[in-house]
């Protein structure tokens, strides 16, 4: 019931303090604090190397300055690690673009799509997303290659390994360098 009608001087000092907060935070918050789980930093680095060793068919790049799109399927914080890994880097004069929360309606422009272990690649929406794209698909689910995926991460003790499905790659006319094939476990049918 009691009114606190304040003189404008006081409102101004309130503003000043808040302004100081803004300035302070913008200046001081340059550093990152998250103690990122190492597994996903490593996987992001793997992805970076995969891209170096991948040859897409000519037509997936519509222009000379089209970026290489690294997409993450669904709502997955992994996209944040990718930003840290790919930012500022280039490949054959192309910059990268990280695209989180990709779905069937946006997958067509991806060059790489990452699917975490919770995503079932046989789900209709996921299948449609993968069918519509020319992307290199990289997944974590145990049966990812059986479901038509191209590269799958797996674990041996505390180390990360990857396996490759050459048939799936052939279907989309994506070629991997022999170096990658040498290091990977190759799924044969």
């Amino acid at each position: 019931m009691i009114r606190h009608r304040l003189p404008s001087r006081c409102v101004n000092s309130f503003c000043t303090v808040l302004l100081a907060v803004v300035m302070g935070s913008v200046v001081f918050s340059g550093g990152a604090f998250a103690d990122s789980p190492r597994e996903y930093q490593v996987k992001a680095a793997f992805l970076y190397h995969f891209v170096q060793f991948t040859e897409w068919p000519e037509h997936v790049f519509t222009g000379p300055d089209m970026r290489i799109r690294i997409c993450v399927y669904g709502d997955d914080p992994f996209a944040e690690y990718l930003v840290g890994t790919f930012m500022g880097k280039m490949l054959h004069a192309r910059r990268f673009r990280i695209q989180p929360r990709v779905s069937a309606s946006t997958s067509h422009s991806c060059h790489v799509i990452f699917l975490n272990r919770e995503i079932d690649a046989t789900r209709p929406d996921v299948r449609r997303a993968l069918q519509r794209s020319q992307a290199l698909t990289v997944g974590e689910a145990d049966d990812f290659l059986e479901q038509g995926g191209m590269i799958q991460f797996y674990r041996v003790e505390k180390n990360i390994r990857f396996a490759i499905n050459p048939n799936a790659l052939k279907r989309k006319q994506i070629r991997l360098s022999s170096k990658l094939l040498r290091l990977a476990r190759v799924k044969s049918k």
């Binding site: 503003c15 935070s25 001081f28 918050s29 990152a32 998250a34 490593v42 930012m87």
Partner: protein, 655 residues
């Protein structure tokens, strides 16, 4: 007092800065300098360490998805809100709605905050949401998040009973064209949208929507048909890996009918009825800039300008609003996630007044300055989350307001989540209650002459202390149950007191009401088969109001003006050949003090997608009665009409 608040602000301001200053080395998270062979030899720790989002949040939140909107067959945003537990949605006539969470519902429900893509659509004169102007193309809505209770939001002085946050799709997801047409017994809606791209990083969409509504039912005849045309755009630009800019804007123009009872000074009736078409026009532009400073630090800045114009017999008003918000989220050591922000909002209004509504002065500007800080701390290996925070605001009506809240969430296993919350919230007096006069027509037999209500410049804010508890059970992935209980203590609610008897009985707005409310809200979701889903909701609400002697208001209106019980049961069935059969049964308890009986209603929708790009559907809404009343108005005495059964056909074509 004010030094105290300043000190608090200053301390809050300095705290995080100190921490940042002490420990600001970037974490090296780029491992690309390692070769593939080296990467294969890196040892990684437990798999489960990846930052997981707790499925639960410590608030009574309900999300309406695009699929919910599409499959429920609703033709407007308010109708979609009927599926939310804890919310009472009532249609007054074709274009007027009363929507509120946890009681105190009326056309000018003043305790709800409504956001459309981040734009606060709160009307400063009515202190409420004008639902007839709050609309967009339904197909472009991504989701509607409804949070009941205060403190579920970081923003806003008026989010006392809840927040309704309408979020449209990212333009990357609305590429290409869409045409939708709906025609039926009650309305005709035509919409079109086109989404495209400029280069690789900028996407946009444009839309237009035309709405024609025919009259609802009234024995004395209804005059509430309406025509509204609106258009708008949105664009999303990824400037680089760290910066994005969203721009959004729109315009609307239309007229909606109403029959309004006006007070006069001529005996014996002292009132006359007018049929009129209310003119409405408005527009807005919004910019939102998001910057990712680093992995654990995001900054966002938003600006919007909104113009609202409305002309009817009793009042003509123009309200311009400018609003700035800045928000910063930063991850701090010890599993803390801090969000803080400041906001500034200013209104400029201009009125043409009448005998019925005469705010004083005719033209004025108001400011509200907001600040908030919230710290979310994850404890016990992410099993528990503690959230503490406070809003601090300064406004031209009541000065400084502090609104703290504390929440704790415990989720020992993914299947069970418990949470508790306590918060304080305030609502500011409206422009109408602050200064001016409103004359109400007589309301026989209780009142045989008009009554005058005067503004009160010494009004304080309405305040609420709220306690909430929730439990979320997900025993199997096919079933989830959400149970929430709350107990609310309201103080200083605005009613009125008598100050004179002649020439007209005259009352003045006054903080002379208290209330206690409690209730239970249940939401459940059961996936019986892959193709069959059942969604249920139940709401119980009880309100006790105490008014001081001499008050003009009727406590009954508050106590019984919101239903005690509400229930909703939806069935979503997917049949072969892309056919969908969806039905929705609702029960809403009666409102005895308003002479509105309880009702059951049923909606049924049959949809068919012959091709991926084309969807055809027919639907029947409110099938159980030819017409039923849902609410009567409290303030402006517009004629309440009854909701009629409606049948329509709809086509949506994507290309």
């Amino acid at each position: 007092m004010r030094q105290g608040v300043l000190l608090v602000v200053a301390v809050l301001a300095l705290l995080p800065v100190r921490v940042w200053g002490a420990d600001s080395l970037p974490a090296p998270n780029d491992l690309t300098h390692l070769s593939l062979e080296e990467l294969m030899n890196v040892e990684v720790t437990s798999v489960s360490k990846k930052k997981q989002k707790l499925s639960g949040s410590a608030a009574a939140i309900f999300v309406i998805t695009q699929d919910d909107i599409r499959r429920s067959g609703v033709t407007s945003i308010p109708e979609a809100l009927r599926m939310v537990p804890g919310l009472h949605v009532a249609r007054l006539d074709n274009n007027k709605w009363a929507i509120s969470a946890r009681g105190f519902n009326s056309r000018f429900s003043n305790k709800m905050l409504v956001l459309l893509d981040g734009r606060n659509v709160y009307n400063s004169f009515f202190a409420g949401t004008i639902w007839e102007t709050t609309d967009t193309l339904l197909e472009d809505i991504e989701r509607i998040e409804v949070i009941r209770g205060p403190g579920g939001t970081l923003w806003g002085v008026n989010a006392v009973n809840g927040v309704i946050n309408i979020i449209t799709k990212h333009t990357q997801r609305t590429q290409g064209g869409l045409v939708s047409g709906l025609g039926g017994s009650e309305e005709a809606i035509v919409g079109a949208r086109y989404g495209g791209k400029v280069g690789d990083d900028l996407s946009y969409r444009l839309f237009v929507k035309s709405l024609h509504e025919s009259t609802e039912f009234n024995q004395a005849g209804a005059h509430d048909d309406g025509r509204i045309l609106r258009g708008g755009f949105r664009s999303d630009w990824d400037i680089d890996a760290h910066n994005t800019l969203m721009t959004e804007g729109g315009l609307y123009s239309g007229d909606v009918g109403q029959r309004v009872r006006l007070p006069t000074l001529t005996a014996p009736a002292f009132a006359r009825s007018v049929d009129e078409d209310v003119e409405m026009r408005g527009g807005h532009i919004l910019l939102k800039w998001d910057r990712r400073i680093s992995e654990g630090s995001d900054l966002s800045f938003q600006f919007f300008y909104d113009r609202f114009y409305r002309k009817e017999t009793v009042v003509e008003m123009t309200i311009d609003t400018v609003d700035f918000e800045l928000q910063h989220r930063v991850a701090l050591p010890l599993n803390q996630d801090v969000v803080w922000g400041i906001g500034y909002r200013q209104w400029f209004d201009d009125f043409r007044t009448s005998f019925t509504i005469a705010p004083a002065p005719r033209s004025k500007s108001f400011r509200v300055l907001n600040g908030f800080i919230q710290d979310e701390i994850r404890l016990f290996d992410d099993e528990a989350t503690l959230t503490v925070g406070s809003k601090i605001s300064h406004n031209d009506f009541t000065g400084f307001e502090v609104q703290p809240s504390g929440r704790v969430l415990w989720q020992p296993v993914p299947q069970h989540a418990w949470w508790l919350a306590a918060s304080r919230a305030v609502r500011l007096p409206s422009r109408a209650a602050d200064n001016g006069a409103i004359v109400q027509p007589p309301n026989p037999p209780a009142l045989t002459v008009p009554v005058r209500l005067m503004g009160n410049r010494r009004l304080g804010p309405e305040s609420l202390i709220a306690f909430e508890a929730g439990y979320r059970l997900t025993p199997i992935s096919e079933l989830s149950i959400d149970v929430i209980a709350f107990y609310n203590l309201y103080d200083n609610l605005i009613d009125s007191k008598r100050i004179a008897l002649s020439p007209l009985p005259t009352f003045q707005f006054s903080n002379n009401k208290e209330a206690r409310t409690h209730g239970v809200e249940v939401a459940s979701n059961l996936q019986i088969l892959e193709s069959w889903q059942i969604r249920g909701a139940y709401t119980y609400l009880n309100i006790d109001v105490e008014t001081e002697r001499g008050a003009f208001g009727f406590p009954d209106r508050d106590e019984q003006g919101s239903p005690h019980h509400q229930a909703s049961l939806r069935s979503l069935l997917s049949l072969p050949h892309n056919v969908e059969l969806d039905s929705w049964l609702r029960f809403v308890d009666g409102l005895p003090s308003l002479s509105v009986p309880g009702y059951w209603e049923l909606d049924v929708r049959l949809g068919w997608r012959p091709w991926e790009s084309l969807e055809l559907s027919i639907a029947g809404l409110n099938l159980l009665d030819t017409h039923h009343p849902e609410m009567v108005p409290s303030f402006l005495q517009t004629q309440a009409n009854e909701v009629q059964r409606s049948i329509y056909g709809k086509m949506v074509w994507n290309f």
